[in-house]
């Protein structure tokens, strides 16, 4: 396990300069996510235009992994349709799944394929206690989208 795999340059960049780190005017859906054990917090706000995310806000406090994940996620979903976002969420979940099985390859997809910057979060898989940090904004996004429906 290498710390360099976890703390990629791009992660630290998003941590220090989070994108979409601002409230959205009259959002259609808002959700707050918290990891009470470690105190990570993120609020996701979405404004929809039809079924396309016209604006997204990701505001929070917490560790570099949770906040970078929120920032990269916001960048990735901005301007995307609900169907594209569902596919993104699915790909992200696949990437975050721990594969330990010698018997069979659980995921045939190349982890992180087509996720852009988000691929930098692949290293988190090797630090199981930190996976929930990376997941938090995504779970919160799903709740915000549900609230918008």
């Amino acid at each position: 396990m290498s710390l360099n795999e976890l703390y990629r340059e791009v992660i630290l960049d998003h941590y220090r300069a989070p994108r979409h780190h601002q409230h959205v005017d009259s959002p259609d859906g808002t959700a707050e996510g918290k990891n009470p054990l470690c105190g990570d917090e993120v609020t996701i706000e979405v404004k929809l235009d039809g079924d396309v995310v016209a604006a997204v806000g990701a505001i929070g406090v917490g560790c570099s992994i949770s906040q970078a994940s929120a920032s990269m996620m916001a960048e990735a979903v901005d301007g995307k349709s609900r169907r594209q976002i569902d596919e993104l969420i699915r790909k992200f979940k696949v990437m975050m799944t721990i594969e330990e099985s010698d018997e069979q390859v659980v995921n045939t997809e190349r982890p992180g394929a087509a996720l852009g910057d988000l691929e930098a979060l692949q290293g988190v898989r090797k630090f199981p206690v930190r996976i929930k940090c990376a997941d938090l904004p995504w779970i919160t996004l799903e709740q915000a989208l549900e609230a918008a429906e």
Binding site: M1, L3, N4, L6, Y7, L12, R16, L37, C38, G39, D40, V61, G62, C63, S64, I65, F127, V129, R130, C133
Partner: protein
């Protein structure tokens, strides 16, 4: 004796590698490690003496009962209490809940105040909040000063006739601050308020004398003082224990049970519903014996020494902020800190890769974390088995964190 390094071999868990490095355990404020003497005492009890207590009319049960009650006497004496003033329970949390639900519920009313400090662990906050929903009493908090000690002027100001109970931690689990419990108790008693002391951090690390403190109630946990999990202690002044109601009902705590009501067993057994943590009591007594053999003065001296060294070395790191007193005379061995803009969880992960275990987060004291404007901190906490090289390893790990995060 300030160098207790020889004791390290008494703790088998320390002899292992974590992530390829020797384990360096710096989370004793959360739970301490256990010496062979404690592990063996529990093992021996299960192998030779295990039976339920206070009920079997046979030799083995009598033996178990004798050892359980001998453990009580030993633990009571450790804090200068009588055996009859000490009830076993699951830990500090359940001990404080017993006071809130057994005393607070029956004695507090609307208009009354529960005066706590902002340094309290959730265990000395939430039970009072729960009980306040029934009693209507109000919770009020004493702030701390800029040097992380209790604001005694504010305390004096807040201490009026409305205050019926004062809850105070003897040693903060976040700041390390040792609070002047006797001074607080004297002031509280002047106006007829009771003092409930959370001594979970104090009893393992400094000599605690419930009479010298003049505490009305005092709670601590075995697992932070080399003993097993699952057992804690509630001390109460005899007259208070006599009148306090049990928070839990069940077997073993009754004198007689009728269809509609029951009468209670004598103190302290009326506070020990159900089968108590018997083997754990034996283990706790072994922990007390171990600490007494070292001597609490030596424990304290070692802690002052290593904490002073840690404060010096950590204090020399640029952009590192320590949350707690810098004077070792009024603090324990819990050192909370942040480093530049690196989140404490990231620090903990980086240190873990070097086999160093520290706590990161709010340390079950969110009101305090908010008042510090530090929602999360990293915390290194020391005990008798820690040595200076543990601090050196911590400092090296923090330097690596600086490099990874590009902190100049």
């Amino acid at each position: 004796m300030t160098d207790l390094a020889d004791l390290r071999s008494d703790f088998p868990i320390l002899d292992q590698k974590m992530n390829g490095h020797p384990l360096i355990y710096l989370d004793s404020a959360s739970t301490s490690q256990k010496p062979n003497a404690v592990i063996d005492a529990i093992d021996d009890f299960y192998r030779t003496t295990n039976a339920n207590v206070h009920r079997g009319a046979y030799g083995l049960s009598n033996d178990a009962t004798d050892r359980y009650e001998a453990a009580r006497a030993r633990v009571a004496a450790f804090v200068n209490a009588d055996a009859g003033e000490v009830a076993f329970n699951r830990g500090t949390t359940s001990a404080l809940n017993q006071v809130a639900y057994g005393w607070g519920l029956y004695n507090l009313k609307p208009g009354d105040r529960v005066l706590l400090t902002l340094m309290e662990h959730h265990a000395n906050i939430v039970p009072w909040q729960l009980v306040s929903r029934h009693t209507g009493a109000e919770l009020v908090y004493v702030p701390h000063t800029g040097d992380y000690t209790l604001d005694l002027d504010a305390f004096t100001e807040l201490l009026d006739d409305r205050v019926k109970v004062v809850g105070v931690t003897a040693m903060s689990n976040v700041l390390g601050t040792i609070n002047p419990v006797r001074q607080i108790a004297d002031a509280a008693h002047q106006i007829g308020a009771l003092v409930v002391v959370d001594a979970a951090q104090a009893v393992p690390h400094v000599a605690v004398d419930v009479r010298a403190m003049d505490a009305d109630f005092l709670a601590f946990s075995a697992h932070k003082m080399l003993g097993p999990t699952g057992i804690g202690v509630l001390y109460g002044k005899a007259e208070l224990l006599e009148t306090m109601e049990p928070a839990e009902g069940g077997g073993e705590m009754i004198s007689d049970v009728q269809l509609d009501s029951s009468t209670w067993a004598a103190v302290p057994h009326k506070f020990e519903a159900g089968t108590p943590p018997i083997a754990e009591a034996i283990g706790l007594a072994a922990a007390v014996e171990y600490l007494e053999r070292i001597g609490m003065d030596a424990v304290r001296n070692h802690e002052v020494e290593i904490t002073g060294y840690a404060l010096d070395r950590l204090g020399a790191i640029d952009a590192l902020t320590i949350y707690g007193p810098t004077d070792t005379s009024n603090r324990g061995g819990a050192v909370s800190f942040t480093l530049a803009d690196i989140h404490p969880h990231d620090l903990a992960t980086i240190l873990d890769q070097r086999g160093i275990a520290v706590r990161a987060g709010h340390h079950c004291a969110r009101p305090l974390a908010r008042s510090l404007n530090a929602p999360a901190t990293a915390r290194a906490s020391f005990y008798i088995y820690n040595v200076r090289s543990d601090v050196d390893a911590l400092v090296d790990g923090l330097q690596e964190a600086r490099e990874i995060f590009g902190v100049a």
